[in-house]
Symmetry: C2
Subunit: 334 residues, 2 copies
Amino acid sequence: MSQSEKPYVIGLDLGGTNSVFGIVDADANVVAETSVKTQGHGESVELYVADCLQALQKIIDQVGGIGKIRAMGIGAPNGNYYTGCIEFAPNLEWARKGVVPLAKIFSDALGIPVAMTNDANAAAIGEMTYGAARGMKNFIMITLGTGVGSGIVVNGQMVYGCDGMAGELGHVIVEPNGRACGCGRKGCLETYCSATGVARTAREIISTTDRPTLLREIPLDKIESRDVSIAASKGDEVAKEIFEQTGRILGEACANFAAFNSPEAFIFFGGLTKAGDLLMEPIKRAYEESVLKIYRGKAKMLISQLDDAKAAVLGASALGWEVALERGVERGLV
Amino acid sequence: MSQSEKPYVIGLDLGGTNSVFGIVDADANVVAETSVKTQGHGESVELYVADCLQALQKIIDQVGGIGKIRAMGIGAPNGNYYTGCIEFAPNLEWARKGVVPLAKIFSDALGIPVAMTNDANAAAIGEMTYGAARGMKNFIMITLGTGVGSGIVVNGQMVYGCDGMAGELGHVIVEPNGRACGCGRKGCLETYCSATGVARTAREIISTTDRPTLLREIPLDKIESRDVSIAASKGDEVAKEIFEQTGRILGEACANFAAFNSPEAFIFFGGLTKAGDLLMEPIKRAYEESVLKIYRGKAKMLISQLDDAKAAVLGASALGWEVALERGVERGLV
């Protein structure tokens, strides 16, 4: 097929800071990319969308116009698959106080079908379409970023639940009356196992013990999970113990999750996975030690195979292909 | 349609003590029933099956012969949907040490398709087909018996997982280093919230405090959950507190389960639900207090609508209808 006949979709990775748009072909090549600031438009979603459309138009023109674009997929915090709305997203100034029908707004403006889901679900769809979960029918995607997100796949389908908001395993309570969480409750998984949680653990150890560690060279309120990772790679005992502890909590939590859908794999994604075996080994060990006997040795513990920089856009684009297929549009013929 | 044309399925509720067979029509009428002892055949499944077939033949003849029977469904402890096998069921003498292909054995003997799943999944299928979950696409069935079982439905489908063994929420650990569980681990939900768990809570309170309670009239090792229920209905403070505590643990556990599939309902089944509001009110209260804000007020807390005595047979028969339909056999024409 000639280049001119190739169909594309748009993937939008809507993050707290940047909104990254990619035009993606059926082989997962990002053929054009652009981005706009997510914030700085005040409470008006119109100004944000106007900025997006202006930037988008340029890359749409690059691939030969909107006629080449079959659909658009959006991965966004608090994005609801059923309604196409962003619902009360605390970190988005124009979606903090209400329900914003962003999928419809883009669909009306561009004249193509637009689907939306939350960022972790988009990552799971991306992994299933292009990554480590190809061919898997039952798996759990865990994203370890500022928070802990999850996307759950059962019988080859995303789990959206009765309201489009299923799959918030970062807010399973793992420590009753534990650390205060941004959600207003206590002891959520993400207060321990996110990048923020790892930094919090480091600060706790430093301020409550006098154990020697390289981390003391950094001002307490400036410590990030990356610093813990660097210290651990230099053999720092405290830093290694922080990953051991974080991995153990994650592994034990995953052992409980297994009782739900007996997944063939857990796939971890995000900055913390850069720690590699420092994190993955304790996860595996704690999981196998604490999981119910009938599940032992069954679930693989994998790190995402998608390039961090492109994964979110690819995930969103995979959702775009889904909606394109649903509308009866033929995919690639490639 | 005349009686003679009506198709049927067989439902088998395979319990630790009795195996109950029902012949069920498309309107959920159990038109014939029989049972055999599950135990007493030693380690040989052949003797058990021979007993079953002898009893079955009589009720099959009653409805006009095997030609009227489209399929059979079995609900059994550790029953695996994918393989049709009972796998290492600790309470079944002929399936304790291995994997018994019971679905195939019955299918070969009767010449009809036979499907199997575990008892809690069968209950969920029954509830979806005939009970409180009719029309629901996302719900969680929790069975409160000697243990705690569960059947999970996502997008209208049972969750079987990668190995056919998904949905063991009774073995989610709710209290790290808590009560010893039959599974070899500690703090599983079922050590607190099963009938056995309720009796255990009663014995703990009686032997570690000197609080006055009607339960002291019963020998410590003879206390059953039913006694706690009776005492509570007489206003006994300790007994009421036991249900309060049990309900709270269940409600908090369900709040964590909601983060998985955001169900439209939790449906409770089994002896403990006889306690009614004594159990259900604390479940509802603890759930709403501890569930993530986005899920609040969304999930109904229901008691099964199926007659206890027939629910398990109906659930198994509903699985029978499923397999009958799958094999392209028309259902009822009713």
